[in-house]
């Protein structure tokens, strides 16, 4: 993390650059979701749109976490703390996935109509 005045001044430019990427990323996400010729995969919302949207969101979130929240320069203790939280989230998502193994499924909803 920048601590000297010179390093902080240098970081400010990085923050502006990252901010610009976040704005652009948001616009791209909206365009992909709303403009027909940018629609990936099947016509309308589908798995491809979901993956693309979440990938852009994850990229943006990573920029916020690593640059704005200074995770790229943090101590090990922080990685352990935040990492354990993320692991817990993945476990929760895993539980949701397990629920999809329920044999009683309405095929209509999983066939994409």
């Amino acid at each position: 993390m920048a601590d000297t005045p010179e390093a902080i001044k240098k970081s400010v430019r990085t923050y502006m650059f990252v901010g610009a990427i976040l704005f652009v990323g948001t616009i791209v996400t909206v365009l992909v979701a709303t403009v027909p010729w940018l629609d990936f995969g099947r016509h309308g919302f589908d798995a491809a749109d979901c993956i693309l949207g979440l990938t852009i969101a994850t990229f943006k979130a990573s920029l916020v976490a690593f640059i704005f929240m200074h995770l790229n320069h943090e101590r090990k203790a922080v990685y352990w703390l935040f990492g354990s939280g993320l692991c817990m989230v993945c476990s929760l998502a895993g539980l949701t996935a397990l629920a999809l193994g329920d044999p009683i499924i309405d095929k209509f909803f999983y066939s994409g109509h």
Binding site: I8, V12, A33, R42, A57, F82, L92, A93
Partner: protein, 537 residues
Amino acid sequence: MEIPYVVTPRKDTGLFNSKIAIWLFLASEVMLFGGFLSAYVFLRLGADYPWPERTLPVLPGLINTFVLIGSSITVVFAWASLKLRDWRKFQLFMGITVGCAMIFMVLKGIEYNAKLHHQALKLKDYSVVEGHLGVESEDGKPVLNHKGSTIEENLIFVEASKLTFDTVRFYKPWVEELLAQAEHHHSKVALAADVTAITKVGQSAEIIAKAGEPLSVELLNRLQAVHLAARSHNAANRTEALRAEWVTAKAANPGKKDWQIASGVNIDTAALAPTLLGEISTVPFSVDPPAKLDFHPRDIKAAEGQSRLRDDTVIDGKLLASPMVFHNIDAIDFQHLVMKAKEKGIDPEVAIENSWLMKNSAFVREAWAWHQGEVKKLSAELLKAHGVGKDGKPRYTPTHKELYRIGWKDLAKKAEDDGRTKLSGVDAAKEEFFGPNYKARGDETFPGLSVPREQVGFASKFTPAWNTYYAIYFAITGLHGLHVIGGALVLAYYLFFGKKMYLSDPEWLANRVEIGGLFWHFVDLVWIFVFPILYLM
């Protein structure tokens, strides 16, 4: 006393205290929001109704995303300004950050307000209508209720001649409401007959309340007290009698198990009767002359002749026509109807043709015919752009939503095709933000619709009650909104009360702002996921 490690880091962790604390907190926050987002996925995949894809207006969500990203940049600039010992710049950037938080909450409030005033109705055949309800009117003027406010046309009316209250379950505010309504109609609500009960063992029944005594909460409370005292006394007597029966039965059947003699253990009700007091479980009141009372649909189980409220109050009287009247409808949705038709093996087109809306609304028929034309155009465009697959079928076809939902934008386009008002510039932008503009586009674009009560399946504003999508939408965005408010308060505290600390120990304040900023970035980070998931997917 000097607090250790507020500026210098601890040797073991390499971090100052509050940084460890905020990261611990953020880790728990990750789990909290992760849990909610998992719940969202679970609800979406398990929904037994067509999930409302891309149903929220994108523009407010997009602006809010920009606002939060902007505030994330300014908060880190505020921190950098403190590190560079520039108080003025800190004030500027932190002021912008707090301002962004306020803009975010205002926009969120506008969005919520639109949802909470937008009506949805699912008919018995699962077709859905959306729009805005009207208010009761006579000769063009709104009818006012006993409170002096307008009456939304989604009430159930009963010409009540008798009200029978459950003395235990009656709900005091409703009693007062019924009384006020009866008074408004110049009707008197009074005891239909003397209420008598035995209040002391061995004595004859006495009059607790006389016929003609006006309805009041106090009277019901008095009757409730007599009833509960009698019920308690009677229950004790019955228990005592049963115990005595058991003692006798056990003495007569030595060595036998309880279950072997249980069927023979019965209370002698005839012998017990003289020891019991009079219970008053219900009490009838006459309404003279019969008054037109109104009820919210959720509170009443309406039926011809006799209706029942949720607190078990029975209302005798004629059920009056109580249609649900939309002054403007802005969406017609057959998605759920089609889903149900497919489940039953019925052709969706046949199901739509047989729906109440198609049979009873010329506008819906007209809109549906226009919509079919639009779907054909879209299908042709998709075929032209993407061709056919190996199976000879078009590679891309219109979505379920495009096939079976006519949204407000479709209705607006239909009106424009018919040569009616076309909005542009600010009006068009406002419509994107606030939803359909009934005034500018007129009733021909968004006409009214009256739905008889017997056709109403389920009606609600766009609140958590409407479906699980709105439940999780309000849960996630509401929780996120609370985080925005909390974060903004902390940052505002640094902005308005941080000068003293800045003058005494600027590094300490910089560390504090870093901690507040970390929380603020996290709030932004959550929104980065919430926006595409709730607004775009």
